[in-house]
């Protein structure tokens, strides 16, 4: 089961009301390479993967939910007190018509999240390579998002999330190393 902890993994500060940036950030909320996709991908793959890497998938999957909460916090803060006029000007008129200021699992173009963003092939190598690719894609998305804002506080949180993708990718690469090792040969680490 999961226990909720009433704190963010990393502090999230935003220094100005910027609904336009919220609209772009939602890519990492309900987009193909976003945090929801990541969490669900890893937590789903773990049922059909060798025992040596189940712990890693469980833990990274759990951390992704913490990142999802950070993205939600950014979007919440960036839109909380924006006027309808500001939302319309930011290109969020269609969103407002459907959701008011509620968050929704869609990407920056408004396309709703779909399970086809994530794969589960049941082949450990295929699945881990997908995970490595997903981490690199998320890293790239964070780069483009960092490029799109001049809010130093927001950039700070986004840089933290980008770095986490680097570390996750590292661990998934190690997971592949573990699984391709011939168990009959001696470990030299």
């Amino acid at each position: 089961m999961w226990i909720y902890e009433k704190k963010l993994q990393y502090p999230v500060r935003v220094s100005k009301c910027d609904p336009m940036m919220a609209r772009f950030l939602i890519e990492q909320y309900g987009g193909a390479d976003g945090e929801l996709s990541a969490a669900l991908r890893y937590l789903n793959q773990r049922y059909t993967i060798p025992d040596q890497v189940i712990g890693l998938l469980t833990d990274i999957g759990t951390e992704e939910f913490a990142h999802l909460e950070m993205i939600a916090t950014m979007v919440y803060k960036l839109t909380k007190d924006a006027t309808v006029e500001q939302l319309k000007a930011a290109g969020l008129g269609a969103h407002y018509a459907n959701h008011d200021r509620a968050l929704f699992y869609n990407n920056a173009a408004g396309v709703p999240w779909t399970a086809s963003y994530i794969q589960a092939k049941g082949d450990p190598i295929a699945d881990l390579y997908e995970d490595i690719a997903a981490e690199e894609k998320a890293r790239a998305t964070y780069q483009w998002l960092i490029d799109m804002t001049d809010d130093v506080d927001l950039q700070d949180s986004l840089k933290f999330l980008r770095e986490r993708e680097v570390v996750h990718s590292q661990r998934f690469r190690e997971a592949v190393d573990i699984l391709i090792q011939d168990r009959n040969t001696k470990k030299f680490f």
């Binding site: 704190k7 990393y10 909460e69 803060k77 996750h168």
Partner: protein, 83 residues
Amino acid sequence: MEEQYYAMLHELQAVDFVLVELNLYLDTHPWDTMALQQFNEMAQKRQFLAAQFEQCYGPLLNFGHSASPHGWRWAMPPWPWQV
């Protein structure tokens, strides 16, 4: 929220982050006894810091993983995205 809230929270976030890092590392390096020892030391430190924080600002965990000795503070604000 007062300054102390952020200071204590930040202290806990820092220690918890080291634990996240060591945890993922140990998932692929279970034989690294030095890292394991560091993990266990940090886990103790986090218990202490979390207890201190909860004393001032209420439970961090739901479902009884944190006790709630001073009334039902769990469901009271602030929530993480509000601070």
